[in-house]
Symmetry: D2
Subunit: 354 residues, 4 copies
Amino acid sequence: MVVRVGILGASGYTGGELVRILSGHPQAEVTLVTSQRFAGQALSEIYPQLQGVAGPDGTPLTCRKLNASEAAEMCDVAFCALPHVTSMGVVPEMIEAGVKVVDLSADFRLNNAETYAEWYGTEHTAPELLHEAAYGLPELNREALKKARLVANPGCYPTSILLGLAPMLKEGVVDLEALVSDSKSGASGAGRAPSQATLYCEVAEGFKSYKTIGHRHTPEIEQEIGRLVGQDDVKVRFTPHLIPQSRGILSTLYVRTGEDGRDAKQWRQVYEAFYADKPFVRVLPEGRLPATNHVRGSNFCDVAITHDPRTGWFVVLSAIDNVMKGASGQAVQNMNLMLGMEEGLALGAFPLFP
Amino acid sequence: MVVRVGILGASGYTGGELVRILSGHPQAEVTLVTSQRFAGQALSEIYPQLQGVAGPDGTPLTCRKLNASEAAEMCDVAFCALPHVTSMGVVPEMIEAGVKVVDLSADFRLNNAETYAEWYGTEHTAPELLHEAAYGLPELNREALKKARLVANPGCYPTSILLGLAPMLKEGVVDLEALVSDSKSGASGAGRAPSQATLYCEVAEGFKSYKTIGHRHTPEIEQEIGRLVGQDDVKVRFTPHLIPQSRGILSTLYVRTGEDGRDAKQWRQVYEAFYADKPFVRVLPEGRLPATNHVRGSNFCDVAITHDPRTGWFVVLSAIDNVMKGASGQAVQNMNLMLGMEEGLALGAFPLFP
Amino acid sequence: MVVRVGILGASGYTGGELVRILSGHPQAEVTLVTSQRFAGQALSEIYPQLQGVAGPDGTPLTCRKLNASEAAEMCDVAFCALPHVTSMGVVPEMIEAGVKVVDLSADFRLNNAETYAEWYGTEHTAPELLHEAAYGLPELNREALKKARLVANPGCYPTSILLGLAPMLKEGVVDLEALVSDSKSGASGAGRAPSQATLYCEVAEGFKSYKTIGHRHTPEIEQEIGRLVGQDDVKVRFTPHLIPQSRGILSTLYVRTGEDGRDAKQWRQVYEAFYADKPFVRVLPEGRLPATNHVRGSNFCDVAITHDPRTGWFVVLSAIDNVMKGASGQAVQNMNLMLGMEEGLALGAFPLFP
Amino acid sequence: MVVRVGILGASGYTGGELVRILSGHPQAEVTLVTSQRFAGQALSEIYPQLQGVAGPDGTPLTCRKLNASEAAEMCDVAFCALPHVTSMGVVPEMIEAGVKVVDLSADFRLNNAETYAEWYGTEHTAPELLHEAAYGLPELNREALKKARLVANPGCYPTSILLGLAPMLKEGVVDLEALVSDSKSGASGAGRAPSQATLYCEVAEGFKSYKTIGHRHTPEIEQEIGRLVGQDDVKVRFTPHLIPQSRGILSTLYVRTGEDGRDAKQWRQVYEAFYADKPFVRVLPEGRLPATNHVRGSNFCDVAITHDPRTGWFVVLSAIDNVMKGASGQAVQNMNLMLGMEEGLALGAFPLFP
């Protein structure tokens, strides 16, 4: 069986990455790529690194304008890599036409239409799908994903934070008031649209925080933490930063566990058990710390647990490649699950280092 | 008056930076540079960028082996840029010989010889100077520095953290148990000695934490915070990270202020008043956040205060150039004060951007 | 005497750099900065690193819209950092109003209006000034600059190439047909306007040539080489490349000298003599090669001469900081000369390394 | 059939890359990795990115000391990633024991033992193998490789230069006296051994040439150009540079073709024909230029042909990933050919961008 795959909004970094991953997928083939801006152009004109990528008939893949009914005919499953707000205008038609969808935008991540409106400044136009959409973090939600028609692919920051915290949160001992997530991302997270802030000369040698207060990944993080601890109305401190590099997120997670007496070693065992059957999370042995260049180009999430007995803080570190496990890699992992394929198909590559 | 300056241990990044700064100092002249490893070589062979830097007689500066009595004859003031432990073997002789010393190592930063022994794994050999040494953070300790014979130049991380927190700490409302300093530094902080960990290929695209637990700047931070709040035995969570860039430190400081009701705007006023007569701290206006490339090559520390009303956390951000305000720039600022010169001499340059 | 300086088009990298340099100039003060796009905004909003830079009355410098007659009243000398074509619309008025001008655009570099039209695709609107304008390479044209009302500040690539070749060209032995200039520049040369090609993610890890054939600096290089060898119609192979870094140009210059028998050592002596009284060119000793990070932030041009006896090629290497000696630093050097000041005022800083 | 593979000298960048590539090879499995320095350590301690890579029995791969007879028992084919000189001490034993060898060092690239002695400063200790060794550039030498017991994997610079020039050289019209190769490489080419010159702070923002005259890849380039044009004693100007990035080589090749009248378009057709059945060379269409980040992590070599009619120069641009097509990727390609497998096995991944 070879599944026909569409990529809607193929001109961004996540779109290019999807094509790269799927070019090595044994049971999927890209039959449609769309881009409003580059319609009519070969994909290799937008992405020179993809020179030679061919469509199903062996000719170069060429971008088309998005037409939902046409798309529905041309593919069995679609990755929607469109901007938020745009995405919720397209996804319902695709679903209705019987196409399974992995949506990489933020549009279907929040269960609550009011929360969406509050953080995105616009009413949700497909609220009925908010409840149906499965949250696409396979390590926490695998069974639901196998049955989903629509997967909301998680944000890159939430992925790093949730995978770093899930085993501890599940144990119910985390002091949520004290919880701090200090997260750092490479510039690819800002996308490929030209802007002064992401020019080479502005980013190089220029570490900083941005949107220190009120980043839109906050409600997503809070919703999923709430689900893990079985509690509504969780509020979390989350601070994003920009690293002068292209790929990679590292989250430094500050955790207090109250009266719970377990030390780092014991927690490491909890993590190892929790992730035993999840091949993309690597719980690092004692003495090893994650680094973004040790996961680059791969679908791995590396996690380390450290403890500072002088102050009582746990510091959990979690690293992913934001374009892979934080976006396109995870999206393919979700597709694999949705379609009943082996979860890790096309995602087995070890990181590119250096 | 032109003061004769010696630089002991000139072959590291801080030594090279001292020469650069002092080449523009109107009242000081470098008369001695020492390096065990490069004795006999012109400074421009070690530091090609310094091609053309001349000593007092107009000939190129050449490295000599360190000889304390000779050094005492050749200079009025010395910057000691030697490694810790080595430094405390040299400084007492210099002081005794009447040379004023700014020590850039960690050897005279801690007041307590036992704390030193605990964190540095060796007994302090000049404990009598620990009490005499003035802690060289001019914004907090200017008067003591004017009278000092020996200045302990602060660590780069402590400088960024203390300048970011001082006005809040002074007000006595900071919850020290909740205090978290998540700090990030460029690779120059690791020095110029060859090591695999600081190779270009290991650092590029490779954000990570290191020494997550137990970094040696911790007791220095705790001691100075203790002094600001008038309390012994302060313990603070401090997490260092390595940024893929050469220069710059950004500290993200998480602060809770308990019952104190002031918001970010009110605190900004407190900071502005506190730093009104300290020209090297720039309290940023609302809406602006510091970035390491906005202070690079300068002696500035940029500080911003933000507040997250949803969780109650303050997030204070503080950026410095670790080689300048975090080391050599601050050292020259200290020298200026010790010698009764204008505090900002040779330090007025605006940052190099991009 | 303090000269009043205007910066027209202050919002680009060269404009910001001019403000930085002039903030340390003892005989000049910036009284006017213009920007169409940012009129009304404080300069520190455009350039956060310049927070604290003050105008003549001590208040922050604020951008104004360009008004030539107003500008003529507010300054004695103006740096025109506007885009080409725009510049030639403004400069004549300024000159006429008695303001001396250093123009950083390409508009007054070529003597020949037809050549201008051919390479820039538009007629020159002030051809009468083309002959008057002095070509602003002080090392080759110092006397003319002292008398100039209008200086055409050289392109960054031509500066690196001409300083690398001038002593050899002057000797009349260079085989111009064989001459190749393979030049590499950091991304700041592309300016601060948002574009996909200069995004961090596109530039990092991405060395390439661009405009391999037909870069607009070609006729400028040819004109000035022609002047040095006393020959019209010189044609030269010049290939620009983009380096993944912010600042710096390195030109690798391939030269054949026909029957001339001098070796690298002899040529080094020729270079040393030629540049003996030009403080910003550092002819490197045998065994040392220039690097862009050894001139960064400075006005130096480092030059090395090497010879390959096996093939007969000379390889001359020349490095500058494109924003300094390649643009704003050289512009201030030209201003100093025009106004009868010491050539190196405000330009004495050694490079920032690392 | 699954072939057992040994990697001798696995602790460098090329060794780590071989493990990465082979982890995705359907017909090969790594059974042995050796490292003198790290014997006894798990590979993931040396290369954290390889956490989880398992050997044939499913346990983590662990480094052993090199023992040739043991090695010969444990593998059918060996990649020798040892330093030159060391390599020629090991390879003969392996060959004798019936192990096929791809040698990544320089030891078997030159046919002539005297040339080796001249450039490497030591006598060759296995001169009898110099003639037997097949030069491992499959695009030029595929048939010989299929029959080889010993393959000399080409140098990274020669690979980029030869693939860029081969079709032109084959036509016999290139003026070899005028030929210039200006080549630029990322820092991974310098290896993983600690050295001051390759520290992050020394490389960043620091483009430069090194070994401008006399780089050891010169005789290899000359030998293979000589073979292509059927001429002995070819001498070529080759200038290496260091780019501030980890991976990638771009060679800018200056070519004169004398009386030959073909233009860029016609040459492009020649190149396309020449490389029609060589899947790893991508001849770029008109208007497109290669960039190192468009081949990163892949085995592709991208080539563009441009022509400057004003001066008569052709400028051919050739980009590879030096760790892949310039070393480990090409080595696996050679292994595939030696063992009668499909040439591109495990090498099909498209570049990682950004």
